[in-house]
Symmetry: C2
Subunit: 428 residues, 2 copies
């Protein structure tokens, strides 16, 4: 196909008429489709139903160290859960704390703690005139939501195919001591599906922040969420790299089983240096008597070990892969060569990131909605919900059925074409 | 028995010799007993084992409004859980938010939120020079721990048999706008087992605080935790009283099923006015995608309704009652008339509060420990761990077996006697 920009006004107008007919036909069906959130489909949830059966009233409900999981105690988690989530975090057991049902909650709490109590004895952030976070963009809206809620100024850093632009990160972090953190999804990033290169990870480990209380918020949300088990992305383990670089306290690493077992009923964990974990625990001991140990036990009894969890993730991949491929196939066949959008085919995670012509994202999302397709709000992938180029759209293919996805992808590309034509016609 | 204070020096010395022989005999047994924490015994936990069976892989895992409890969503709880916990809170369903596994966690989060974001648009507490909380004493150590951790100044208010001394509460709250809250356990209070009188509750509802962001932190931890089902304490419902008094936003009410089902794996809730709940939810939507809905469902399927829960609490009472009575019987028979201690026989809750002669509590706890009995640290029932009179000791009879309790109570009274004799000898 010829790039749209090379088409004449008449050609564009005639193409628009054809597309509008098609669009109105779909619209008339009164569909209700949702590609807005990274929500697992029922078929994926079914994979973990067996977890409902591993604990019963006849079971031994003690952890391996003999703790009655039904009672109070074990502030930082039972040993069994520590082993499993340490393995998942690629660190040793002494480097993890087990939390409740959500790593988002732990990240929120961590920012809140830094606000009220500071990092390792440094001034609480709420006492400082200005606190800033670096935000690789596009990124995860809920990360940005947390920092915005706490009044932390967010600074955009562009994502490259290797991860955040480290030239910019290094420069800003070393020059500005009001920069206290950076949000990272290092593997199969949200929304682009980019995995950070070894060089990027090493440069993170070697950062020399002006602020002694600067921390990398390393949200390894998709660490084992491969689409292609025979071709997984592998990233360097940042805690180890930080130790090697003489920067052991630089990183907080967050994981959870939300998209492994059940969203909302998973188990979350933090991996960090001993000094950082002591800081976390000082807070925790006032915050709770302990998290849900029965759910920790349930996870361990169901998955058994990392091999069991990896086997389980292959089943997730078998469900997700065709969905991603269905969307990508439509993007490829319908948009290749038109020069009205770019996207990356991810090898894992939950999203496909689409960059439309500048100034078109909001209009495309609105157009798709007309035909009954809900997308993530345009701008959501940027701090303050503001995409300076109004270009990025996050596609979440996990929840709809493959049949729905084929229709949804079709509505999406038709919307992209229609809005792009209107944009191009502005200058004809 | 004659009061110890009326005994001569020789009589006291001779009594001490006898008691020391007895004490050393027990000490030689090398026992290990624990009356330190309000921890349910295994027999109580067994009562809820059936909860492990109500959900299984063949079950319908949808809430009554059709939400798949395995997936994301339902920020403030599923409808089924709202109904049950609203009933438990004695409020209507629209006045509750369901939280995670612990009300302590919710109270911590609430104080944290007030620090960083303030109450209903008022100045965040972290921006104020001084924030104070009233603390009825003796009280719950973990409450005091939270306020101390956030640098909130704690002001002791004496407990009366009717609840906190409301003359003092009313005066302080109306005069000092740096007083932002008060910790209350209104029913079967921790540690005294006192239930607030109707007058006390009404006076709370009619408070005229100088600070518009003053809140009553009403921790109804033992709302259905009666020892005598045919003679339960009943307290007025504070939200309703506050509404009647034209003070609807004055209270945050906290409950949980920690000591109903499983500590650590229960469900917590907040009950409050619509305006307050909106404030909570504004925070929650950044903090989490939702709490553990499967555990909410598990609770509803197991208890069914409030009648089911009340029936369940009768079984708890049947286990706890003999334990309380065993301890009280020893206190009664061994200490009555000696004038070396006072205690209240509670009708519910988890504790017996013992007031020793002034200056004796620490020494009694230390003495008991010599013989292998761990008590709650003396002072723990006061802010900053400082009991000005060094008099109060919290007895937690729930965890040991009845046989262990008989021995533990005996060690305790012997320790009380020995330390009291030493104290009295100081002035002979």
């Amino acid at each position: 196909m010829k790039p749209y920009s090379q088409l004449s006004k008449d050609e564009l107008l005639s193409m628009r008429s054809e597309l509008e007919v098609k669009f109105n036909e779909v619209k008339a069906k009164g569909l209700s489709l949702d590609m807005s959130r990274g929500k697992p489909a029922a078929a994926q949830l079914n994979l973990s139903n067996g977890m409902m059966d591993v604990l019963n009233s006849q079971c031994d409900l003690k952890s391996e160290e003999g703790v009655d999981c039904r009672n109070y105690g074990s502030l930082d988690g039972i040993k069994d859960a520590k082993r499993l989530l340490a393995d998942m975090s690629e660190v040793s057991m002494d480097k993890v704390i087990i939390y409740g049902n959500s790593s988002l909650n732990v990240m929120f709490d961590t920012v809140s703690r830094c606000m009220t109590h500071g990092v390792l004895g440094h001034t609480p952030w709420c006492r400082l005139d200005k606190v800033k976070f670096l935000c690789p963009v596009p990124g995860y809206d809920r990360h940005f939501g947390i920092t915005e809620y706490f009044g932390i100024e967010m600074v955009n850093v562009p994502m490259l195919p290797t991860g955040p632009d480290m030239d910019i990160v290094e420069k800003l972090v070393s020059e500005d001591d009001s920069i206290k953190g950076i949000w990272c999804v290092p593997k199969y990033s949200n929304p682009q599906g980019i995995s950070y290169s070894d060089e990027t990870v090493r440069r993170f480990a070697h950062l020399k922040p002006a602020a002694p209380d600067f921390r990398i918020f390393w949200d390894n949300a998709y660490s084992i969420h491969h689409l292609y088990d025979d071709d997984p992305d592998v990233i360097l383990e940042l805690l180890e790299e930080c130790e090697k670089a003489g920067n052991p306290d630089l990183v907080y690493k967050f994981i959870s089983t939300s998209k492994v077992s059940f969203p909302g009923s998973g188990v979350a964990a933090v991996a960090a240096s001993s000094a950082n974990l002591a800081d976390f625990k000082k807070h925790m001991k006032y915050q709770t008597i302990g998290h849900d140990k029965l759910n920790q036990l349930r996870h361990v009894r169901f998955f058994k070990d990392m091999d069991g969890m990896r086997e389980h993730m292959r089943k997730h991949a078998a469900i997700l892969r065709p969905k991603f491929e269905a969307v990508l196939q439509v993007l490829d066949s319908e948009l290749t060569g038109l020069e009205i959008g770019n996207w990356i085919a991810p090898k894992g995670g939950y999203f496909i990131s689409f960059d439309a012509l500048d100034g078109c994202a909001k209009a495309i999302v609105a157009k798709a909605k007309e035909a009954g397709l809900v997308m993530t709000g345009a701008g959501a992938t940027f701090p303050y919900g503001k995409d300076p180029a109004d270009s990025n759209i996050r596609i979440a293919p996990s929840f709809p059925t493959p049949e729905e996805l084929a229709i949804a992808a079709d509505i999406f590309v038709t919307s992209v074409k229609l809005v792009s034509i209107d944009k191009l016609l502005e200058n004809k």
